[in-house]
Symmetry: D2
Subunit: 346 residues, 4 copies
């Protein structure tokens, strides 16, 4: 069988480079080209020496990459993906966007939180929000995929069963998330200067992070009601992984065992979501460098509040891995192909 | 003026050793003796080489330490302090307990959460909960001090103004706390084995941590109403510091500026609580190795929910530093004496 | 083609668990059984939750594992492998020992550094030191493999070209190595207690580490002369990886370019040893979680001293990965099968 | 007694800010002014929130700082200190330079390693290399102090006894040093980007670091012979501290006990150099945030090579602390005043 020709635009960034790394070992994929605005002409192995002598591909311009590819992954700052998506769409190639441009259904949400308008609104009708475990059937057959954000992936997978079952008081959902530093990418910043970041910890963008509307959109869609959350991200002084600790007031009194059964049934057929046994707690340690999402279920009987903990690797299930999962769906491959790495536990 | 003779019982543990370190540089204190059950006869500098050639004191038995001291600090597992407190009380010495035995007002709370009864209930009437910023007047003149727990200190200082002003919906207070590893002390454990703990992150003891009743007791006392919280501690792969991110539903609509003014006024005369300017966020980086508590004020206007972030060093303001602050009060010294270290910002 | 049945003895330790993780994704291997003295009857996924729902195998006794296997990997404290090797040898199964029992050629070296005698000296004649890049031809056809130690692998690969070319002054070789904490394994210890280890750094076992005779044995064999080294290991507060910085007085004046050519030629056909371009420096970051060994070449012209830096992942190329590489050789598979993971660069 | 008016030029950098932090708690010092080219008009507490509400001084221009000060500390990139030193010298103020401009005796060394000439050669005759433990008598009465580099301090204190006793083979001294990231300062760089630096380790500037001539100058001066070293710095993924592991071929056969006695006698009267007991190893953990230098003594009898390990905090004994030690000497104060912090052992 002919291998899929896969191109990566924005491959010099962290999510782009992670895509190349994972695609490289995918048995049905050949990396057809990589691009980078800032590093055109340089080798990816100069930037990321882990690739040295394995993949010494050179960053090209975007058009060369698109021309050589069946599927194009783009990992770019918001506002830059529409044009590329249009090019790919017109050329009948699949476009998987790891940026924010195709995640929000309503243009007004995008305008409010990202400060930009859509230039090609028709195109957004062709796109789908690519969270396989929740919207797999919608993804099949689409040409443009809005790959979910990292925090929204951790939250949506963590709360989906409870939302779908309409158990949540939709005005009392509090999401306290903590992410490793790769989430803020390759660009240098004060916040990720080592002596500043190391042995530190703090929240940031309290009640104002751009992933808020994306989270609310998915949760609302799942429970058919307007959901209003409080979302607080924190920066962990580690490299990878997101833990979301989520507090949900339940509309009816439940036992933790019932809640656990609900989750186990909801995810019974999913290979990448692991509902942990009661008594265990999700830890990002055990999903790092893998495509798994671990979810643990807790309930405070005193307040009848569910406490759900979910853990993903922000670069894999929260970005590159999920994008490949979407590609596998679109090309009718085993959804987990190339993604079955076991997380090292140490 | 004669120096205060200060003894430390349980000085081989982390809080005990931190006490010795801080007392050593206190201008009005002489360390009169240190004890340790497990290390009697050894030098503190053998366990903690930072002391080498500076303080090479030998661990003695408890009675020798008490006999030589005007004030006795004890840092022991719960259940062991009552007898020592009685000895000190009868000998008219001040007893400052860094353990849990004198923190809870109600014996039934202690029995429920710690699984032990009081053997000397009368003694507890002589004790006081030693959180200077909130209960300074009660502390003066007392002989037995229950030094607050680390998490409870961070929460009480973070929420006191809002509770005192009766602004909180007392059934919707969610406290998501994160602590460095020194909080779990010197004992070896799987959770703090380096390859396990490093680059990991997770909550623990969800809805079941022993600091819960202590937190509720203080908050209830401040607002004169029964408070029911959700408290979730997490283990940060760093050494020191606690961040508590706290979500409080407000009973009336407020602007963040009003809330900020409330906090500034509440703490206007406190040297160790710093209310950060609006727009800043508390970070444990900037209070590490110091006795300061930083508090930042945020408000989500969409949900009218206050989000308060507080940061302390769990070993200083959360343990040894606060104990010395209590000592200073009891001996009529400047409350900050020996505690004015500026936190290194890197 | 029938898959190789591979068993792992001592699979509850770090090297053993890493073997299971890597073997699990090896296309020609089926894990036939795992054993653990301390955890018999428990699942590997209870100890290492990264395996949960992927590999929930139960630890059995050693004999069951051997009976089910074509190849037996053992990762045990020294002194325990001989008996197992004998059992496997007599049953015509391949035995790959990740411990120290089959690494040293001379029984007197083993006796001196490990304090034990051989009980079955004849068996050692059947074994071979399994460092593929240097002794590949000797490995083929053998039944018992002494898999090299982690430090010795980093040193041997780093110095082999210079030793083989007889360029080194064999009395002036100084090896300053630094290893992550997984090297000291799963057992709790003061040195790897998180608050102790984190933000610390120090050498240990100066001039007395047991890997010294193994290093000297290989270097001597390569240059046909008695080599006397100084070897100083240090503990890095990170999880994985070894950097060895090696200082070698050269017997004749050389230019760094000549030395570099020598290395490039020596390793021209090796897939897992990467001689970095001149001007680059080996960094453990770029080999973590991979089977690669990066080597960089430097020369101080003022002293005519070569400075060679080598980097490996102690758990992969320094243990489990190399063991699988040996298995691949013995079973006539592509030597890199199952080991071609690209190291994540972040 | 009137307090010393101390000004800090370049106080927005790490060494400058550390100076302010330490001077702030010095009982005989008043911080008279601070300057910063890039942050004039801003508060130091905006950059380093650890100072908030304790020291909210504003960065001024250099001349204002000099005018207000009895002693001026400067922490600037090389090449910028001469003019300031001249101004201070002519105004009869003491100038303590934490940069490199007054460290090297020979202008040709400075020209070769730093690429600049002296513009005011006469001034250098008035300056002294300020390493108190070795050159205390030369320091007294001087007006311009070249405060030693961080690595050179760790090496000089570690090797002084052996050099002074002329025991070293001066062509076989190898110095393998490892430093925390604060050594590279406040400026953002790829090497100190958190996801790049964390969980990494590597040497840098092999055989070409600018501290090489400074180290050789001091060692040569101590042993009255030309010393040629190999010096390899490495970047540790931690914040603070330097460990230097040093290998010295001895000219005569010695026992480790003799070497140890030599060191104990050499440093018998020093409060900030701690010669550890035989069997102990220096660890940067135990000197962090303090002005102490720990030295441990080892000897490989097989090769008759001494292995000396020294540990300092690069920001304190390696920069700001030592500068204050020099100030104390020049103002006839107790040399340790304001510097007696005990290193926290966790």
């Amino acid at each position: 069988m002919k291998k899929i020709q896969a191109g990566v635009i924005g491959a010099s960034g962290y999510a782009g480079a992670e895509l190349v790394r994972l695609l490289w070992n995918h048995p049905m994929v050949e990396v057809s080209g990589i691009s980078s605005k800032s590093y055109t002409g340089q080798k990816i192995s100069d930037l990321y020496p882990g690739f040295y002598q394995i993949c010494d591909m050179v960053f090209q311009d975007e058009d060369s990459v698109i021309a050589a590819s069946d599927v194009v992954f783009a990992s770019l700052p918001h506002g830059l993906s529409e044009k590329l998506a249009r090019k790919c769409f017109d050329a009948d190639k699949i476009f998987i966007d790891l940026g924010a441009d195709f995640r929000l259904d309503k243009e007004e949400d995008y305008a409010m939180w990202y400060g930009l308008d859509y230039h090609d609104p028709a195109l957004h009708k062709e796109s789908v929000y690519g969270l396989p475990e929740l919207f797999r059937d919608d993804i099949k057959g689409k040409k443009i995929i809005g790959n979910p954000g990292c925090y929204p992936t951790s939250v949506a997978l963590g709360l989906a069963p409870i939302m779908k079952a309409k158990l949540a008081d939709c005005k009392h959902i509090i999401i306290d998330s903590k992410s490793g530093t790769t989430g803020s990418g390759k660009s240098l910043s004060e916040a990720t200067h080592f002596p500043r970041c190391n042995e530190s910890f703090a929240p940031y963008k309290i009640a104002s992070h751009r992933h808020t509307p994306e989270i609310e959109q998915t949760l609302s869609r799942l429970c058919d009601e307007d959901v209003l959350i409080n979302f607080t991200p924190h920066l962990l002084p580690i490299n990878r992984g997101i833990i979301s600790t989520m507090y949900v007031d339940l509309k009816e009194t439940m036992k933790v065992e019932e809640l656990h059964v609900l989750y186990e049934q909801f995810y019974a057929n999913e290979q990448f979501v692991r509902v942990l046994p009661l008594g265990k707690t999700a830890d990002l340690k055990y999903i790092k460098y893998s495509n798994y999402c671990d979810v643990s279920i807790h309930l405070d009987e005193r307040s009848n509040r569910a406490i759900i903990v979910s853990a993903i690797d922000n670069m894999v299930k929260g970005a590159a891995g999920q994008a490949i999962q979407n590609m596998n769906i679109l090309f009718d491959l085993d959804e987990g192909m190339g993604l079955k790495m076991v997380a090292p536990s140490f």
